[in-house]
Amino acid sequence: MSRETLFNIVFMTAFALLPVIAHLIDEPFTITLATRAAILALAAVGLNIALGLGGMVSLGHAVFFGLGGYAMGILAYHAQTFTPMTFGPWELAGTKFMPVIWLVAIGISAVVALLIGLLSLRTSGVYFIMITLAFGQMFYYFSISWSAYGGEDGLSIFVRNDFPGLNTLVPIHFFGLCFAILCLTLIFKARLMRSPFGLALNAARQVPLRVATTGLDPFRVKLVAFVISGAITGLAGALFADLNRFVSPTMFSWQLSGEIIILVILGGIGRLLGPVVGATVFVALEHWLGGVTEYWLIWLGAILLAIVMFARGGLMGLVGRKAIPHD
Protein backbone atom coordinates (compact mmCIF):
# COMPACT_ATOMS: atom_id res chain seq x y z
CA MET A 1 0.00 0.00 0.00
CA SER A 2 1.39 3.37 -0.98
CA ARG A 3 1.90 6.14 1.54
CA GLU A 4 -0.83 8.18 -0.10
CA THR A 5 -3.38 5.35 0.12
CA LEU A 6 -2.56 4.86 3.78
CA PHE A 7 -2.96 8.57 4.43
CA ASN A 8 -6.27 8.61 2.55
CA ILE A 9 -7.69 5.79 4.66
CA VAL A 10 -6.53 7.34 7.94
CA PHE A 11 -7.83 10.76 6.93
CA MET A 12 -11.26 9.54 5.85
CA THR A 13 -11.60 7.42 9.00
CA ALA A 14 -10.78 10.42 11.18
CA PHE A 15 -13.18 12.54 9.14
CA ALA A 16 -15.96 10.01 9.81
CA LEU A 17 -15.10 9.54 13.50
CA LEU A 18 -14.91 13.21 14.52
CA PRO A 19 -18.66 13.88 14.15
CA VAL A 20 -19.48 10.57 15.81
CA ILE A 21 -17.46 11.63 18.85
CA ALA A 22 -19.07 15.07 18.71
CA HIS A 23 -22.44 13.32 18.66
CA LEU A 24 -21.57 11.24 21.72
CA ILE A 25 -20.42 14.24 23.75
CA ASP A 26 -23.36 16.28 22.43
CA GLU A 27 -21.56 18.93 20.36
CA PRO A 28 -23.96 19.32 17.43
CA PHE A 29 -22.19 22.38 16.05
CA THR A 30 -19.05 20.38 15.35
CA ILE A 31 -21.17 17.92 13.39
CA THR A 32 -22.59 20.78 11.34
CA LEU A 33 -19.05 22.01 10.63
CA ALA A 34 -18.02 18.53 9.51
CA THR A 35 -21.11 18.32 7.30
CA ARG A 36 -20.23 21.68 5.76
CA ALA A 37 -16.70 20.42 5.12
CA ALA A 38 -18.01 17.21 3.52
CA ILE A 39 -20.33 19.13 1.18
CA LEU A 40 -17.71 21.69 0.17
CA ALA A 41 -15.32 18.78 -0.36
CA LEU A 42 -17.87 17.19 -2.70
CA ALA A 43 -18.13 20.43 -4.69
CA ALA A 44 -14.34 20.60 -4.90
CA VAL A 45 -14.04 16.93 -5.90
CA GLY A 46 -16.32 17.87 -8.79
CA LEU A 47 -14.16 20.82 -9.77
CA ASN A 48 -10.98 18.77 -9.42
CA ILE A 49 -12.13 16.49 -12.26
CA ALA A 50 -12.23 19.51 -14.59
CA LEU A 51 -9.35 21.49 -13.06
CA GLY A 52 -6.98 18.82 -11.83
CA LEU A 53 -7.44 16.07 -14.39
CA GLY A 54 -8.57 18.09 -17.40
CA GLY A 55 -6.66 21.33 -16.78
CA MET A 56 -9.82 23.40 -17.22
CA VAL A 57 -9.61 26.36 -14.84
CA SER A 58 -13.31 27.04 -14.43
CA LEU A 59 -14.09 30.24 -12.57
CA GLY A 60 -17.76 29.49 -12.99
CA HIS A 61 -18.36 26.35 -10.97
CA ALA A 62 -20.68 28.31 -8.68
CA VAL A 63 -23.15 28.03 -11.57
CA PHE A 64 -23.55 24.33 -10.83
CA PHE A 65 -23.40 24.79 -7.07
CA GLY A 66 -26.17 27.39 -7.36
CA LEU A 67 -28.23 25.33 -9.80
CA GLY A 68 -28.15 22.42 -7.35
CA GLY A 69 -29.11 24.78 -4.56
CA TYR A 70 -31.99 26.29 -6.49
CA ALA A 71 -33.17 22.88 -7.71
CA MET A 72 -33.54 21.93 -4.06
CA GLY A 73 -34.97 25.33 -3.07
CA ILE A 74 -37.58 25.50 -5.80
CA LEU A 75 -38.77 21.89 -5.45
CA ALA A 76 -38.98 22.14 -1.66
CA TYR A 77 -40.61 25.59 -1.81
CA HIS A 78 -43.44 24.25 -3.97
CA ALA A 79 -43.80 21.26 -1.67
CA GLN A 80 -43.99 23.35 1.50
CA THR A 81 -46.47 25.85 0.01
CA PHE A 82 -48.49 23.08 -1.70
CA THR A 83 -48.42 25.02 -4.99
CA PRO A 84 -47.52 23.21 -8.20
CA MET A 85 -44.87 24.45 -10.61
CA THR A 86 -46.37 25.47 -13.92
CA PHE A 87 -44.67 25.00 -17.25
CA GLY A 88 -47.15 26.43 -19.75
CA PRO A 89 -50.07 24.01 -19.76
CA TRP A 90 -48.27 21.46 -17.56
CA GLU A 91 -48.24 21.39 -13.79
CA LEU A 92 -45.75 19.56 -11.65
CA ALA A 93 -45.82 19.16 -7.88
CA GLY A 94 -42.78 20.03 -5.77
CA THR A 95 -41.07 17.41 -3.65
CA LYS A 96 -39.26 17.06 -0.36
CA PHE A 97 -37.82 13.68 -1.29
CA MET A 98 -34.03 13.99 -1.42
CA PRO A 99 -33.22 11.37 -4.09
CA VAL A 100 -35.55 13.11 -6.55
CA ILE A 101 -34.09 16.51 -5.67
CA TRP A 102 -30.57 15.13 -6.19
CA LEU A 103 -31.45 13.67 -9.57
CA VAL A 104 -32.94 16.98 -10.68
CA ALA A 105 -29.86 18.86 -9.39
CA ILE A 106 -27.49 16.47 -11.19
CA GLY A 107 -29.55 16.51 -14.39
CA ILE A 108 -29.87 20.29 -14.65
CA SER A 109 -26.23 20.86 -13.78
CA ALA A 110 -25.15 18.32 -16.38
CA VAL A 111 -27.24 19.90 -19.13
CA VAL A 112 -26.02 23.41 -18.30
CA ALA A 113 -22.42 22.14 -18.08
CA LEU A 114 -22.83 20.63 -21.53
CA LEU A 115 -24.00 23.96 -22.97
CA ILE A 116 -21.36 26.03 -21.17
CA GLY A 117 -18.69 23.48 -22.09
CA LEU A 118 -19.67 23.44 -25.77
CA LEU A 119 -19.12 27.19 -25.93
CA SER A 120 -16.23 27.76 -23.56
CA LEU A 121 -14.07 24.73 -24.40
CA ARG A 122 -13.42 26.26 -27.81
CA THR A 123 -11.13 28.60 -25.91
CA SER A 124 -8.39 27.90 -23.42
CA GLY A 125 -6.21 29.63 -20.86
CA VAL A 126 -7.31 33.09 -19.76
CA TYR A 127 -10.21 33.14 -22.23
CA PHE A 128 -11.64 29.97 -20.74
CA ILE A 129 -11.41 31.49 -17.24
CA MET A 130 -13.16 34.66 -18.45
CA ILE A 131 -15.96 32.86 -20.29
CA THR A 132 -16.77 30.61 -17.36
CA LEU A 133 -16.71 33.68 -15.10
CA ALA A 134 -19.12 35.43 -17.47
CA PHE A 135 -21.55 32.51 -17.33
CA GLY A 136 -21.32 32.61 -13.54
CA GLN A 137 -22.24 36.29 -13.49
CA MET A 138 -25.16 35.68 -15.86
CA PHE A 139 -26.66 33.15 -13.48
CA TYR A 140 -25.91 35.35 -10.47
CA TYR A 141 -27.76 38.36 -11.84
CA PHE A 142 -30.57 36.21 -13.16
CA SER A 143 -31.15 34.75 -9.69
CA ILE A 144 -31.11 38.22 -8.13
CA SER A 145 -33.83 39.39 -10.47
CA TRP A 146 -35.94 36.23 -10.25
CA SER A 147 -38.47 37.59 -7.75
CA ALA A 148 -40.72 34.52 -7.88
CA TYR A 149 -38.08 32.71 -5.85
CA GLY A 150 -37.02 35.42 -3.45
CA GLY A 151 -34.75 37.45 -5.74
CA GLU A 152 -31.91 38.93 -3.74
CA ASP A 153 -33.35 37.67 -0.43
CA GLY A 154 -33.25 34.03 -1.44
CA LEU A 155 -35.56 31.24 -0.36
CA SER A 156 -35.98 29.77 3.10
CA ILE A 157 -36.99 26.15 3.48
CA PHE A 158 -38.47 25.39 6.90
CA VAL A 159 -37.90 21.68 7.26
CA ARG A 160 -35.02 19.67 5.88
CA ASN A 161 -35.94 17.32 3.03
CA ASP A 162 -36.59 13.62 3.60
CA PHE A 163 -34.48 10.55 3.04
CA PRO A 164 -36.05 7.14 3.69
CA GLY A 165 -35.00 5.63 7.01
CA LEU A 166 -33.29 8.76 8.34
CA ASN A 167 -34.34 11.74 10.38
CA THR A 168 -32.41 14.29 8.38
CA LEU A 169 -32.87 17.01 11.00
CA VAL A 170 -30.67 15.02 13.38
CA PRO A 171 -27.20 16.40 12.58
CA ILE A 172 -25.40 13.06 12.68
CA HIS A 173 -27.94 11.49 10.29
CA PHE A 174 -27.51 14.27 7.77
CA PHE A 175 -23.73 14.13 8.15
CA GLY A 176 -23.79 10.38 7.50
CA LEU A 177 -25.76 10.96 4.33
CA CYS A 178 -23.41 13.65 3.01
CA PHE A 179 -20.32 11.68 4.00
CA ALA A 180 -21.63 8.55 2.26
CA ILE A 181 -22.20 10.54 -0.95
CA LEU A 182 -18.70 11.99 -0.68
CA CYS A 183 -17.21 8.50 -0.25
CA LEU A 184 -19.15 7.08 -3.21
CA THR A 185 -18.03 10.02 -5.36
CA LEU A 186 -14.41 9.50 -4.30
CA ILE A 187 -14.63 5.82 -5.25
CA PHE A 188 -16.05 6.86 -8.62
CA LYS A 189 -13.24 9.39 -9.07
CA ALA A 190 -10.57 6.87 -8.08
CA ARG A 191 -11.92 4.46 -10.70
CA LEU A 192 -12.16 7.24 -13.25
CA MET A 193 -8.50 8.14 -12.73
CA ARG A 194 -7.51 4.56 -13.60
CA SER A 195 -9.94 4.20 -16.49
CA PRO A 196 -9.32 4.65 -20.23
CA PHE A 197 -11.25 7.90 -20.00
CA GLY A 198 -9.09 9.12 -17.12
CA LEU A 199 -5.90 8.39 -19.04
CA ALA A 200 -7.22 10.19 -22.12
CA LEU A 201 -8.34 13.19 -20.04
CA ASN A 202 -4.98 13.35 -18.30
CA ALA A 203 -3.25 13.35 -21.67
CA ALA A 204 -5.73 15.84 -23.18
CA ARG A 205 -4.58 18.31 -20.52
CA GLN A 206 -0.93 17.88 -21.47
CA VAL A 207 -0.84 17.04 -25.21
CA PRO A 208 -4.21 17.35 -26.98
CA LEU A 209 -2.53 16.61 -30.32
CA ARG A 210 -1.37 13.23 -29.07
CA VAL A 211 -4.90 12.32 -27.95
CA ALA A 212 -6.26 13.26 -31.38
CA THR A 213 -3.58 11.13 -33.03
CA THR A 214 -4.59 8.09 -31.00
CA GLY A 215 -8.10 8.41 -32.42
CA LEU A 216 -9.94 10.26 -29.65
CA ASP A 217 -11.27 13.79 -29.93
CA PRO A 218 -9.68 15.78 -27.07
CA PHE A 219 -12.51 18.33 -27.20
CA ARG A 220 -15.09 15.64 -26.50
CA VAL A 221 -13.01 14.06 -23.77
CA LYS A 222 -12.77 17.41 -22.01
CA LEU A 223 -16.44 18.16 -22.58
CA VAL A 224 -17.52 14.90 -20.93
CA ALA A 225 -15.21 15.63 -18.00
CA PHE A 226 -16.68 19.12 -17.67
CA VAL A 227 -20.21 17.67 -17.59
CA ILE A 228 -19.30 15.10 -14.93
CA SER A 229 -17.55 17.83 -12.97
CA GLY A 230 -20.56 20.15 -13.13
CA ALA A 231 -22.99 17.40 -12.16
CA ILE A 232 -21.02 16.53 -9.01
CA THR A 233 -20.75 20.18 -7.98
CA GLY A 234 -24.50 20.52 -8.62
CA LEU A 235 -25.23 17.64 -6.27
CA ALA A 236 -23.06 19.35 -3.64
CA GLY A 237 -25.12 22.51 -4.13
CA ALA A 238 -28.35 20.65 -3.39
CA LEU A 239 -26.87 19.24 -0.17
CA PHE A 240 -25.45 22.63 0.82
CA ALA A 241 -28.88 24.26 0.43
CA ASP A 242 -30.36 21.48 2.52
CA LEU A 243 -27.74 21.98 5.23
CA ASN A 244 -28.58 25.67 5.54
CA ARG A 245 -32.24 25.23 4.63
CA PHE A 246 -31.69 28.38 2.63
CA VAL A 247 -30.82 29.26 -0.96
CA SER A 248 -29.70 32.66 -2.19
CA PRO A 249 -27.90 34.21 -5.16
CA THR A 250 -24.65 34.02 -3.13
CA MET A 251 -24.47 30.39 -4.21
CA PHE A 252 -24.00 31.67 -7.78
CA SER A 253 -21.40 34.31 -6.88
CA TRP A 254 -17.95 34.35 -8.43
CA GLN A 255 -16.46 34.51 -4.93
CA LEU A 256 -17.88 31.05 -4.36
CA SER A 257 -16.34 29.82 -7.63
CA GLY A 258 -13.03 31.19 -6.37
CA GLU A 259 -13.51 29.52 -3.01
CA ILE A 260 -13.97 26.10 -4.65
CA ILE A 261 -10.77 26.67 -6.64
CA ILE A 262 -8.99 27.59 -3.39
CA LEU A 263 -10.12 24.33 -1.80
CA VAL A 264 -8.61 22.38 -4.69
CA ILE A 265 -5.31 24.30 -4.71
CA LEU A 266 -5.03 24.15 -0.92
CA GLY A 267 -5.46 20.38 -0.88
CA GLY A 268 -3.56 19.50 -4.05
CA ILE A 269 -4.58 19.77 -7.70
CA GLY A 270 -5.35 16.48 -9.37
CA ARG A 271 -4.93 14.41 -6.20
CA LEU A 272 -7.76 12.08 -5.22
CA LEU A 273 -8.16 13.40 -1.68
CA GLY A 274 -6.82 16.90 -2.33
CA PRO A 275 -10.21 18.64 -2.37
CA VAL A 276 -11.31 16.84 0.81
CA VAL A 277 -8.17 17.86 2.69
CA GLY A 278 -8.53 21.38 1.29
CA ALA A 279 -12.18 21.65 2.35
CA THR A 280 -11.64 20.37 5.88
CA VAL A 281 -8.65 22.65 6.45
CA PHE A 282 -10.62 25.56 4.99
CA VAL A 283 -13.65 24.96 7.23
CA ALA A 284 -11.43 24.46 10.28
CA LEU A 285 -9.54 27.70 9.58
CA GLU A 286 -12.78 29.54 8.88
CA HIS A 287 -14.08 28.42 12.26
CA TRP A 288 -11.01 28.72 14.49
CA LEU A 289 -9.29 31.68 12.87
CA GLY A 290 -12.69 33.29 12.29
CA GLY A 291 -13.26 33.04 16.05
CA VAL A 292 -9.96 34.77 16.78
CA THR A 293 -10.17 37.58 14.26
CA GLU A 294 -12.71 38.73 11.75
CA TYR A 295 -9.84 39.35 9.35
CA TRP A 296 -9.12 35.63 9.14
CA LEU A 297 -9.17 35.70 5.34
CA ILE A 298 -5.87 37.62 5.42
CA TRP A 299 -4.30 34.67 7.19
CA LEU A 300 -5.94 32.24 4.81
CA GLY A 301 -4.40 34.30 2.02
CA ALA A 302 -0.97 34.05 3.64
CA ILE A 303 -1.32 30.28 4.06
CA LEU A 304 -2.44 29.91 0.46
CA LEU A 305 0.51 31.97 -0.71
CA ALA A 306 2.91 29.82 1.28
CA ILE A 307 1.41 26.66 -0.16
CA VAL A 308 1.51 27.87 -3.74
CA MET A 309 5.12 29.03 -3.33
CA PHE A 310 6.61 26.27 -1.22
CA ALA A 311 4.38 23.22 -1.59
CA ARG A 312 3.44 23.07 -5.25
CA GLY A 313 1.43 19.91 -4.75
CA GLY A 314 -0.76 21.51 -2.07
CA LEU A 315 -1.19 19.86 1.31
CA MET A 316 -1.28 16.45 -0.34
CA GLY A 317 2.12 17.27 -1.78
CA LEU A 318 3.45 17.20 1.79
CA VAL A 319 2.17 13.64 2.16
CA GLY A 320 4.14 12.47 -0.83
CA ARG A 321 4.62 12.73 -4.54
CA LYS A 322 1.89 11.55 -6.83
CA ALA A 323 2.22 7.78 -6.96
CA ILE A 324 2.67 5.94 -10.24
CA PRO A 325 -0.61 4.11 -10.89
CA HIS A 326 1.10 0.93 -12.09
CA ASP A 327 4.06 -1.17 -11.01
Partner: protein
Protein backbone atom coordinates in the same frame (compact mmCIF):
# COMPACT_ATOMS: atom_id res chain seq x y z
CA UNK B 1 1.69 3.08 -64.07
CA UNK B 2 1.25 -0.69 -64.14
CA UNK B 3 -1.06 -2.35 -61.71
CA UNK B 4 0.89 -4.13 -59.02
CA UNK B 5 -2.06 -6.19 -57.90
CA UNK B 6 -1.99 -4.54 -54.49
CA UNK B 7 -4.09 -1.48 -53.85
CA UNK B 8 -2.42 1.79 -52.94
CA UNK B 9 -2.50 2.54 -49.22
CA UNK B 10 -2.42 6.30 -49.47
CA UNK B 11 -3.03 8.58 -52.45
CA UNK B 12 -2.84 12.34 -52.81
CA UNK B 13 -4.47 13.77 -55.93
CA UNK B 14 -3.75 17.35 -56.95
CA UNK B 15 -3.44 18.63 -53.39
CA UNK B 16 -3.16 22.42 -53.15
CA UNK B 17 -2.83 24.55 -50.07
CA UNK B 18 -2.19 28.26 -49.84
CA UNK B 19 -1.89 30.67 -46.93
CA UNK B 20 -2.78 34.09 -48.27
CA UNK B 21 -0.48 34.70 -51.20
CA UNK B 22 1.93 31.97 -50.14
CA UNK B 23 1.46 28.76 -52.09
CA UNK B 24 2.54 26.02 -49.67
CA UNK B 25 1.52 23.03 -51.78
CA UNK B 26 0.80 23.18 -55.48
CA UNK B 27 -0.83 20.23 -57.23
CA UNK B 28 0.90 17.54 -55.22
CA UNK B 29 0.35 13.97 -56.42
CA UNK B 30 1.76 11.23 -54.25
CA UNK B 31 1.06 7.66 -53.28
CA UNK B 32 2.20 5.01 -50.85
CA UNK B 33 2.33 1.35 -51.85
CA UNK B 34 2.13 -1.61 -49.50
CA UNK B 35 5.48 -2.59 -48.01
CA UNK B 36 7.44 0.47 -49.06
CA UNK B 37 9.11 3.44 -47.51
CA UNK B 38 8.36 6.55 -49.50
CA UNK B 39 10.51 9.47 -48.40
CA UNK B 40 9.70 13.12 -48.99
CA UNK B 41 12.67 15.43 -48.99
CA UNK B 42 13.06 19.08 -49.71
CA UNK B 43 14.71 22.21 -48.41
CA UNK B 44 13.29 24.11 -45.45
CA UNK B 45 10.10 25.93 -46.35
CA UNK B 46 9.33 23.58 -49.23
CA UNK B 47 5.93 22.75 -47.75
CA UNK B 48 6.66 19.35 -46.21
CA UNK B 49 4.99 20.12 -42.89
CA UNK B 50 1.92 21.52 -44.63
CA UNK B 51 1.73 18.39 -46.73
CA UNK B 52 2.04 16.11 -43.72
CA UNK B 53 -0.72 17.96 -41.92
CA UNK B 54 -3.03 17.43 -44.86
CA UNK B 55 -2.27 13.73 -44.79
CA UNK B 56 -2.92 13.50 -41.04
CA UNK B 57 -6.10 15.57 -41.21
CA UNK B 58 -4.95 18.62 -39.25
CA UNK B 59 -5.28 20.80 -42.36
CA UNK B 60 -7.79 20.55 -45.18
CA UNK B 61 -6.52 21.03 -48.74
CA UNK B 62 -7.90 23.98 -50.75
CA UNK B 63 -8.17 21.65 -53.72
CA UNK B 64 -7.44 18.01 -54.38
CA UNK B 65 -8.18 14.78 -52.60
CA UNK B 66 -6.62 12.45 -50.04
CA UNK B 67 -7.49 8.76 -50.25
CA UNK B 68 -6.62 6.28 -47.53
CA UNK B 69 -7.12 2.54 -48.12
CA UNK B 70 -9.18 3.36 -51.19
CA UNK B 71 -11.60 5.72 -49.41
CA UNK B 72 -11.75 9.47 -49.75
CA UNK B 73 -10.74 10.84 -46.33
CA UNK B 74 -10.30 14.49 -47.34
CA UNK B 75 -13.05 15.64 -44.98
CA UNK B 76 -12.11 13.40 -42.04
CA UNK B 77 -10.57 14.78 -38.84
CA UNK B 78 -7.31 13.67 -37.21
CA UNK B 79 -9.02 11.24 -34.79
CA UNK B 80 -11.16 9.77 -37.59
CA UNK B 81 -8.15 9.11 -39.86
CA UNK B 82 -6.25 7.72 -36.92
CA UNK B 83 -9.07 5.30 -36.18
CA UNK B 84 -8.86 4.03 -39.77
CA UNK B 85 -5.26 3.03 -39.08
CA UNK B 86 -3.06 6.01 -39.89
CA UNK B 87 -0.35 6.26 -37.23
CA UNK B 88 1.74 9.37 -36.90
CA UNK B 89 4.95 10.31 -35.17
CA UNK B 90 5.92 13.92 -34.62
CA UNK B 91 9.00 15.96 -35.36
CA UNK B 92 8.75 17.46 -31.89
CA UNK B 93 7.75 14.69 -29.49
CA UNK B 94 4.11 14.89 -28.49
CA UNK B 95 4.17 12.98 -25.25
CA UNK B 96 2.47 13.46 -21.89
CA UNK B 97 5.57 14.48 -19.92
CA UNK B 98 4.00 14.03 -16.46
CA UNK B 99 2.90 10.51 -17.31
CA UNK B 100 5.01 7.39 -17.28
CA UNK B 101 6.35 5.63 -20.35
CA UNK B 102 3.74 2.89 -19.93
CA UNK B 103 0.88 5.39 -19.57
CA UNK B 104 1.88 7.10 -22.79
CA UNK B 105 1.98 3.77 -24.58
CA UNK B 106 -1.33 2.61 -23.09
CA UNK B 107 -2.96 5.74 -24.45
CA UNK B 108 -1.96 4.66 -27.93
CA UNK B 109 -3.39 1.20 -27.38
CA UNK B 110 -6.76 2.44 -26.09
CA UNK B 111 -8.59 3.00 -29.35
CA UNK B 112 -7.28 -0.18 -30.93
CA UNK B 113 -8.63 -2.04 -27.89
CA UNK B 114 -12.12 -0.93 -28.86
CA UNK B 115 -13.06 0.36 -25.41
CA UNK B 116 -11.56 3.82 -25.16
CA UNK B 117 -14.50 5.52 -23.47
CA UNK B 118 -15.02 3.44 -20.37
CA UNK B 119 -15.08 5.38 -17.10
CA UNK B 120 -14.88 2.31 -14.95
CA UNK B 121 -12.47 -0.33 -16.30
CA UNK B 122 -9.03 -0.41 -14.72
CA UNK B 123 -6.52 -0.06 -17.56
CA UNK B 124 -3.57 -1.01 -15.39
CA UNK B 125 -5.14 -4.42 -14.66
CA UNK B 126 -6.26 -4.99 -18.25
CA UNK B 127 -3.92 -7.77 -19.37
CA UNK B 128 -4.72 -7.45 -23.07
CA UNK B 129 -4.13 -3.71 -23.11
CA UNK B 130 -0.95 -3.94 -21.07
CA UNK B 131 0.57 -6.71 -23.14
CA UNK B 132 -0.14 -4.67 -26.28
CA UNK B 133 1.64 -1.67 -24.74
CA UNK B 134 4.47 -3.71 -23.30
CA UNK B 135 5.22 -5.54 -26.52
CA UNK B 136 5.42 -2.19 -28.34
CA UNK B 137 7.82 -0.91 -25.66
CA UNK B 138 9.84 -4.09 -25.90
CA UNK B 139 10.27 -3.65 -29.65
CA UNK B 140 11.82 -0.21 -29.29
CA UNK B 141 13.86 -1.27 -26.27
CA UNK B 142 12.06 0.78 -23.63
CA UNK B 143 10.42 -2.01 -21.64
CA UNK B 144 12.79 -1.53 -18.70
CA UNK B 145 11.85 2.15 -18.51
CA UNK B 146 8.09 1.71 -18.33
CA UNK B 147 7.61 3.11 -14.83
CA UNK B 148 9.79 6.14 -15.56
CA UNK B 149 8.07 9.49 -16.05
CA UNK B 150 8.37 10.57 -19.65
CA UNK B 151 10.05 13.83 -18.62
CA UNK B 152 13.06 11.88 -17.34
CA UNK B 153 13.74 10.18 -20.69
CA UNK B 154 16.61 11.26 -22.90
CA UNK B 155 15.83 12.85 -26.23
CA UNK B 156 16.61 9.64 -28.09
CA UNK B 157 14.38 7.60 -25.80
CA UNK B 158 11.53 10.01 -26.42
CA UNK B 159 11.94 9.48 -30.16
CA UNK B 160 11.73 5.74 -29.53
CA UNK B 161 8.65 6.20 -27.36
CA UNK B 162 7.00 8.17 -30.17
CA UNK B 163 7.46 5.14 -32.39
CA UNK B 164 6.27 2.73 -29.67
CA UNK B 165 3.02 4.68 -29.25
CA UNK B 166 2.45 4.47 -33.01
CA UNK B 167 3.16 0.71 -32.97
CA UNK B 168 0.40 -0.01 -30.44
CA UNK B 169 -2.17 0.89 -33.04
CA UNK B 170 -1.33 -1.99 -35.40
CA UNK B 171 -1.54 0.67 -38.09
CA UNK B 172 -2.20 0.35 -41.81
CA UNK B 173 0.30 3.11 -42.57
CA UNK B 174 2.86 5.20 -40.74
CA UNK B 175 3.28 8.90 -41.24
CA UNK B 176 6.63 9.85 -39.75
CA UNK B 177 7.81 13.41 -39.43
CA UNK B 178 11.59 13.43 -38.98
CA UNK B 179 11.99 10.42 -36.69
CA UNK B 180 15.79 10.96 -36.74
CA UNK B 181 15.56 14.59 -35.61
CA UNK B 182 18.11 15.26 -32.89
CA UNK B 183 19.43 11.71 -32.78
CA UNK B 184 23.17 11.24 -32.85
CA UNK B 185 24.78 9.09 -35.53
CA UNK B 186 24.52 6.01 -33.31
CA UNK B 187 20.84 6.61 -32.53
CA UNK B 188 20.12 7.45 -36.11
CA UNK B 189 21.67 4.19 -37.33
CA UNK B 190 19.65 2.27 -34.76
CA UNK B 191 16.40 3.96 -35.83
CA UNK B 192 17.25 3.30 -39.48
CA UNK B 193 17.60 -0.43 -38.78
CA UNK B 194 14.32 -0.39 -36.92
CA UNK B 195 12.36 1.40 -39.64
CA UNK B 196 13.91 -0.91 -42.24
CA UNK B 197 12.17 -3.87 -40.61
CA UNK B 198 8.97 -1.97 -39.98
CA UNK B 199 8.00 -1.46 -43.62
CA UNK B 200 6.79 -5.04 -43.99
CA UNK B 201 4.17 -4.40 -41.29
CA UNK B 202 2.89 -1.19 -42.77
CA UNK B 203 4.27 1.21 -45.36
CA UNK B 204 5.89 4.41 -44.15
CA UNK B 205 5.53 7.91 -45.54
CA UNK B 206 8.73 9.44 -44.24
CA UNK B 207 9.69 13.09 -44.05
CA UNK B 208 13.35 13.26 -43.12
CA UNK B 209 16.33 15.59 -43.30
CA UNK B 210 18.94 12.92 -42.61
CA UNK B 211 20.05 12.07 -46.18
CA UNK B 212 22.04 9.00 -45.12
CA UNK B 213 18.91 7.54 -43.57
CA UNK B 214 16.71 8.51 -46.51
CA UNK B 215 18.98 6.98 -49.15
CA UNK B 216 19.53 3.87 -47.03
CA UNK B 217 15.83 3.30 -46.37
CA UNK B 218 13.63 4.68 -49.11
CA UNK B 219 12.18 2.59 -51.90
CA UNK B 220 11.07 5.81 -53.52
CA UNK B 221 11.89 9.43 -52.94
CA UNK B 222 9.84 12.47 -53.86
CA UNK B 223 11.48 15.87 -53.86
CA UNK B 224 9.37 18.82 -52.82
CA UNK B 225 10.61 22.28 -53.77
CA UNK B 226 8.52 25.44 -53.34
CA UNK B 227 5.38 23.41 -52.83
CA UNK B 228 5.77 21.31 -56.01
CA UNK B 229 7.09 17.82 -56.48
CA UNK B 230 9.93 18.26 -58.96
CA UNK B 231 11.03 14.64 -59.07
CA UNK B 232 9.87 11.28 -57.83
CA UNK B 233 11.52 7.90 -58.21
CA UNK B 234 14.02 5.35 -56.91
CA UNK B 235 16.97 6.71 -54.88
CA UNK B 236 19.40 6.22 -57.78
CA UNK B 237 17.18 8.15 -60.15
CA UNK B 238 16.84 10.99 -57.66
CA UNK B 239 20.56 11.08 -57.04
CA UNK B 240 21.16 11.38 -60.79
CA UNK B 241 18.39 13.89 -61.45
CA UNK B 242 19.71 17.24 -62.70
CA UNK B 243 16.80 19.29 -61.36
CA UNK B 244 17.17 17.79 -57.92
CA UNK B 245 20.90 18.36 -57.84
CA UNK B 246 20.58 22.00 -58.71
CA UNK B 247 17.55 22.66 -56.55
CA UNK B 248 18.41 20.73 -53.49
CA UNK B 249 21.25 18.29 -53.18
CA UNK B 250 23.72 20.74 -54.61
CA UNK B 251 22.90 23.21 -51.91
CA UNK B 252 23.75 20.88 -49.11
CA UNK B 253 27.13 19.93 -50.47
Amino acid sequence: MTSLGAALVLELHGVCKRFGSLVANDDVNLDLRPGEIHAIIGPNGAGKSTLIQQVSGALRPDAGRVDFLGDNVTDLSVPARSKLGLARTFQISQLAMEDTVLQNTLLGALVASGKPRSLWRDIYRDIELRSCAESALDRVGLLDHQTQPCASLSHGQRRQLEVAVALTRKPKAFLMDEPMAGLGSEGSAQMTRFLDGLRVEAPILLVEHDMDAVFALADRISVLVSGRIIASGAPDEIRADQKVQSAYLGETQ
